[in-house]
């Protein structure tokens, strides 16, 4: 690993530790969900009903760590913060692993 790459990795590690800002600030400023990414309860609040097709597809997949949060919907904020940092680490690891696997597979076929 070059010195430059080492610096970039340190930068990414610092970013991972700062990620809780991405849940703290929206919470602080009461910003709610991203537009068009509401859960079905929120939609019922907005429209008075849940569109039929949306209702059927909404639970298509049960993600193992929904919303980057290990503690469930009513988790304490500190749990959410720790979950968020760990999620960032998992994300880095998974992204790096997948990129190496994909590129390794490509290179192997080349030779």
């Amino acid at each position: 690993m070059t010195r430059f790459q080492k610096k970039l990795w340190i930068g990414l590690a610092i970013m991972a530790l700062l990620t809780p800002l991405g849940i703290y600030l929206p919470d602080r400023f009461k910003s709610g969900d991203a537009w068009g990414e509401w859960g079905t309860d929120k939609i019922r609040g907005l429209l008075g009903y849940v569109p039929e097709g949306l209702k059927k597809l909404a639970d298509f997949w049960k993600a193992p760590v929904p919303d980057y949060n290990f503690g469930g919907e009513n988790a304490a904020f500190s749990t959410q913060v720790i979950s968020y940092i760990i999620s960032g680490m998992i994300g880095i690891a998974a992204a790096v692993l997948l990129i190496y696997l994909i590129t390794k597979f490509l290179v192997k076929h080349e030779k």
Binding site: Q5, K7, F29, S31, G36, F60, A94, T103
Partner: protein, 226 residues
């Protein structure tokens, strides 16, 4: 901008899976043919970076949140096809592990953020910078690349939301999927990204490019091609 499951009709998400598959196939081929092995660690870091930057939700007080994607800076540094792969990998992890973006909507989300955004950003950067290799014009080009790339992706997402009521409604006339029409979905997605999140994306793009030009200028893909 991560469309969840249930917001898009099958008439929308199936074709968009098809389009994304085509781009994934070309991206893998291009990377196999053109990407030097020394770029692989950077590709991995690019994916890690994109994952992290999307975690920084930027609040609009009392309103909503959004985030940068990193698709523009990755396209400038490593090329648009490398960006297709890096951002797609991130979106797939986000959908499967964290439920951020739907599984059915994965093709659509990849098309918006991992295909359209990197290419728009890359073209804007090349077009605006001209022959500049530094200075104001060069960094304005980088800012605009991120800004316009994210805004176009957001408008496209708004368009995909907005056509749902036209495509699919129940016997009672109620929409079956994303409920808001084009006249609401497109302006909302456009305005919030053009006024807030696009500016963040543009600044991130310019600052990171500046850092790379200072330390490892010969690496920057968009500066190599004529």
């Amino acid at each position: 901008m991560h469309i969840p499951d249930g917001y898009l009709s099958p008439q929308t998400f199936v074709p968009l899976y098809g389009v994304s598959f085509v781009f994934w196939a070309i991206a893998l081929k291009k990377i196999k043919q053109e990407l030097p092995a020394k770029y692989i660690p950077y590709l991995a870091m690019a994916a890690a970076f994109s994952f992290l930057i999307m975690m920084f939700n930027v609040p609009i007080p009392g309103g909503t949140t959004g985030h940068a994607v990193g698709g523009g800076i990755i396209a400038i540094l490593l090329g648009p096809w490398a960006a297709v792969l890096a951002v797609s990998v991130v979106l797939i992890i986000q959908a499967i592990v964290f439920g951020d973006g739907g599984i059915t909507a994965m093709g659509a989300n990849c098309f918006n953020m991992a295909v359209v955004m990197p290419f728009v950003s890359y073209w804007v950067f090349k077009l605006v910078k001209g022959n500049a290799k530094g200075g104001a014009r060069f960094y304005i080009a980088a800012f605009l690349a991120g800004y316009i790339g994210l805004s176009v992706a957001a408008i496209l997402t708004g368009f995909e939301f907005g056509i749902q009521p036209m495509i699919a409604s129940g016997p009672d006339g109620r929409p079956l999927y994303a409920p808001y029409p084009l006249s609401i979905a497109v302006p909302v997605m456009a305005i919030e990204h053009m006024l807030v999140f696009g500016i963040v994306e543009g600044m991130v793009t310019a600052l990171i490019l500046k850092y790379f030009v200072k330390h490892e200028a010969e690496l920057v893909y968009a500066m190599k091609e004529a």
